[in-house]
Symmetry: C2
Subunit: 621 residues, 2 copies
């Protein structure tokens, strides 16, 4: 990583992720103070050609998770990391202090190990921690009535779809299963939702590079992309590249699930270069520290791992505190047992010691750490089903009820919480998951893996799970953890990461539409209008993946002239339903026949007129 050759490779890997999107520019919406600059992507559209001349199409603003990478005004230097945009916000609250050194013993060991000099990020910042007796969580501020810059940032960010709103057509009211999304997201609404525990802003004080985002069911549905090396494969460079690549395509958060070598160093590189929240599963690293022997795990080793990672800036921790001793044997009759790695580690620990899970018995100790750095809980579903046959069983729902109890304990400490969910669940059993979660966890945000709706398609599990993800998002799930085509088969590469992210953006957006999220339909409508008007470039540019849309079009009609053609490649120039529709529209307009009544009144004697004026099809252009 420190040799010239290595860093050039790294820079090259990032080249693609740093290209601005076509016809797009990065814009910033300023908040109540000049250092609140909320990034968005503005897509410029071409005008509509009409018989009366030209009609402008307003640009469309879209939510932008790509960070400074797509900003041509920013010089990216992965070896320096991103700018710490939250630094002043954190400092001015005057409730934290910069520590002289690392608190974690393991962190110090890694820092002092000269053998790691070549791997280590060169500009490790001194860690920051809450002053004695202070709680620095967003939930704590919210409950005191304080609107933080982070809350204002996410409020602006959630509203963007209504900026430049162009009322092309009616909005369909959604079906929101009891949620209550307001027409305008205010910072005060954000504060209330955080205080209530119905939403979280994962934002460690040691991750000042973060562009804040919110997870909760009264906001846009979010997605998470997993990256991480394993003992078998993958390097630091690859993991950093996967992170920038996944956020380019829309990943709202990233989980680093590394289980192989140099996890500590990999994580530092990722966080310093990430504008999105980073989540981890600390038990993975704790297990590495005891050479993979689950029985040898201790609370002390785990505690040191939490602090090590909290001081690096991890924004949320998956912690499997709900895997209780008494639930473990309930999985014995399952078809696929325990498939969560964290769940199986803790199950093994519990059984071999015949003791209750130390992540449960030390839960309040963990809360004490979380609130010092504002790390959010992602309470792990260690007993989630790993096969359709195991969905919604007693082991799963038993654990869920325990996660509900723990949620209330975390909230007592003003620590932010979300709840992880399955897994493998057939469609008709998905809603029960959401309903049970809302009930037992008192509306804390739900964060599910898929769920996969069938087990028969390895190689396509982004699709088997995208189906379930769209549904549970609609029912109220706040964040969807992506699944790539390689699930169950291998480690995802760059193409798999992109396929997973795009699939999950589709699921999340389909859910936003179904929930009736204000403004969500604007991009659909703009794209459909572009399609109807044969504005091919606009259609590509409004797509979640402009590159693929364009290349698919070019396979059939590669010439540039085809992109301004008033026909599409499906039917050819003479035979086009959209052309014919234009006739209908012109006819109805000329004859005032736009409602059923007008039609019935005016239908007689206008036929000849149509033949005369309408014989030239698509005469708008």
């Amino acid at each position: 990583m420190t040799t010239q050759a290595d860093s050039t490779d790294l820079a090259e890997n990032h080249y693609d992720a740093q290209q601005p999107f076509p016809n797009s520019r990065k814009v910033f919406i300023e908040g109540s103070r000049p250092d609140i600059q909320v990034p968005m992507r503005e897509i410029t559209l071409s005008p509509t050609q009409t018989s009366d001349g030209v009609e402008e199409n307003a640009p469309i603003l879209v939510y932008d998770t790509s960070g400074p990478y797509t900003d041509p005004n920013v010089e990216i230097d992965l070896e320096q990391g991103l700018q710490p945009i939250r630094e002043a916000w954190i400092a001015e609250r005057n409730d934290t202090e910069e520590l002289a050194g690392l608190t974690s013993e393991y962190g110090r060991e890694r820092r002092d190990n000269e053998g790691l000099d070549d791997l280590r990020f060169a500009h490790v910042r001194k860690p920051r921690c809450a002053k004695s007796g202070k709680n620095v969580s967003q939930m704590h501020y919210a409950r005191q009535g304080i609107v933080t810059p982070e809350m204002e940032f996410v409020a602006i960010r959630e509203n963007q779809r209504r900026e430049h709103l162009r009322e092309i057509t009616k909005q369909h009211p959604g079906q929101s299963w009891g949620a209550a999304i307001p027409q305008v997201i205010t910072a005060e609404f954000v504060r209330e939702e955080i205080a209530r525990g119905r939403a979280i802003i994962p934002a460690n004080i040691n991750h000042p590079e973060l562009e804040p985002m919110i997870i909760g069911r009264n906001f846009l549905v979010k997605i998470n992309g997993n990256i991480g090396n394993s003992a078998v494969s993958s390097s630091i460079e690859e993991e950093v590249e996967k992170m920038t690549w996944a956020t380019r395509w829309g990943s709202d958060t990233i989980m680093d699930l590394s289980t192989g070598k140099n996890i500590h160093e990999t994580r530092e590189w990722i966080i310093r270069n990430s504008a999105v929240p980073i989540g981890t599963v600390p038990i993975y690293q704790a297990l590495e520290k005891v050479d993979g022997i689950a029985e040898n795990l201790t609370w002390e080793i785990f505690r040191d791992t939490l602090i090590e990672q909290a001081e690096q800036g991890v924004d949320y921790f998956t912690i499997h505190s709900g895997v209780l001793l008494r639930y473990v044997p309930l999985t014995a009759k399952r078809l696929a047992g325990i498939v969560s790695r964290g769940g199986s580690i803790m199950a093994k620990w519990c059984l071999s010691h015949h003791k209750e899970n130390f992540l449960y018995t030390h839960f309040e100790d963990i809360c004490e750490i979380m609130k010092k750095y504002d790390v959010s809980f992602s309470l792990g579903d260690g007993l989630r089903p790993g096969a359709i046959a195991d969905a919604n069983d007693e082991a799963q729902f038993g654990e869920l009820r325990t996660l509900g109890e723990l949620t209330k304990i975390a909230w007592k400490h003003d620590v932010q919480v979300m709840i992880e969910g399955p897994g493998h669940v057939p469609m008709h059993m998905i809603k029960e998951n959401m309903d049970e979660q809302l009930k037992h966890c008192d509306e804390a945000p739900f964060y599910t893996l898929g769920p996969l709706t069938t087990d028969i398609a390895p190689g396509y599990d982004h699709i088997t799970s995208g189906i379930g993800a769209a549904q549970i998002g609609w029912y109220g799930c706040a964040m969807l953890c992506y699944v790539t085509p390689k699930e169950h088969l291998g480690l995802p590469n760059r193409d798999d990461v992109k396929a997973g992210v795009i699939t999950y953006k589709i699921s999340a957006h389909a859910a936003d539409l179904a929930k009736g999220h204000p403004g969500a339909q604007q991009r659909d409508d703009a794209l459909s209008k572009a399609r109807f008007e044969f504005r091919w470039e606009d259609q590509f540019n409004l797509s979640l993946d402009p590159d693929t849309a364009r290349s698919f079009h070019d396979e059939t009609l590669p010439k540039d002239s085809a992109k301004v053609a008033h026909f599409c490649s499906m039917c050819g120039p003479k035979f086009c339903s959209m052309k014919i529709t234009q006739d209908v529209r012109d006819y109805a307009k000329e004859h005032g026949m736009e409602t059923r009544e007008a039609i019935e009144a005016g239908m007689n004697e206008q036929s000849e007129e149509f033949v005369r004026t309408g014989s030239e099809i698509y005469h708008k252009a």
Copy 2:
């Protein structure tokens, strides 16, 4: 097509589609007479290694749409076509006669055109037609209480998933929205459903090569793949190849949507080589006959086209009889107008003549033709929405109500009917489509295109629509028309056809699971069991796409030894949740701790025992 070089190319193109699936063999279940031979694919599994030795895993039978192409005992010769397995069944009913020549004027013209000799299928069979006054539809037989060989064939076919059933785990009761799927599908149940109009067997008497299948919501959810050339691109060879390719991967029917040159000849090649029902949209060809000028269409031209195609053996016709004059102007205010090609052709015709749609006014004349050949109606949704913004509007539902009226007229003639549906519909508006269709069309099978649940992802519309398809399948839709990644952008190639088919098999199967279709979960359970037991080869072979599953695995762990490894590439050899689960299982078994009560009773004092016996993980192997 007739030169040696051409046919060699064709044969090569078909090579892939003719490979048997790995570890699979074609088996035939014999019905009540020796000429009822229902094909299925049997997947052989390897045994489970246990500490007690070896435990056999029964082979799994799966529904097989691939026809004789995957049967190594059949010599495929595309220039001869497939064997006419239904020939005797049709003949022995003694209600049809072989005609001396073609009835259709156009058909005769094409036959006599020497310029087409090179393109023409060489062995065109003489057409068969009902004897005067006879009705040869499956519905007609069913209503007289006759169980035809076709009905018995599909009854056996629908049951296959319960053959060799191995009760691995509990079956989850589905949520079937009012449908009533019996535990065993009998030929008599098939007859009742056909007689009631709740299911159809599309099976033209001029398509004796057909392996009969059934479409109805009390049966397995089916999928359709579209193929077809256009004025821009594609050849006869490509279309025949796409058909065999799509049916290899699971397409239950094929629609030939050709709009370009030599449609008549292409269709003959496709039908003669197809073991699945073929559907068409006759108005496309009728329009070609009037040089693309919709106003010049006449009932006479259309009528001749129906007969031409019926005598070739088309099994179902999409006919847009519901596009009424008064509905057309209702589309003028839409964002995307009329996107159905057939719908826009008829809309243009109606407006320019100021007359009611001739497909509506001549509906009973059309029924007279349908019943002479047993062609099924697929009543077209010419006014389906082409954008989320246009979903469930008055134009769409007005047409649907008219399709309901027409259904009852067709049933009066004992003609089989299914109803086409949208299109572009956000998730929360999908169920209304299904409910309205059931209500107005009196439970005639619904056959939908997707629906696409968002418009923002051109290039990924197999996924945007696969989400909607799974849902509407669950709600009761009988057949799902696939959408490929090229939708809206270009003509699908071979890879796109496969991606579309596999995605829709996922949606259809997810729907079967959610409906609680008896036995549907068997394949999921077998695959999950193989996964849990690290039987990699079985996991690949049970997948919808063994080739892709295997190649994805091999990207990370290419060695053959990795396919027998008791770990997967996600976590590496030391760190594996499935290994740990095995410990839990062994522990629970040894200590009789498989229920909550047993656990609470026996939880004390067994900890040390576990440490002693359980320290070697995965000691089953």
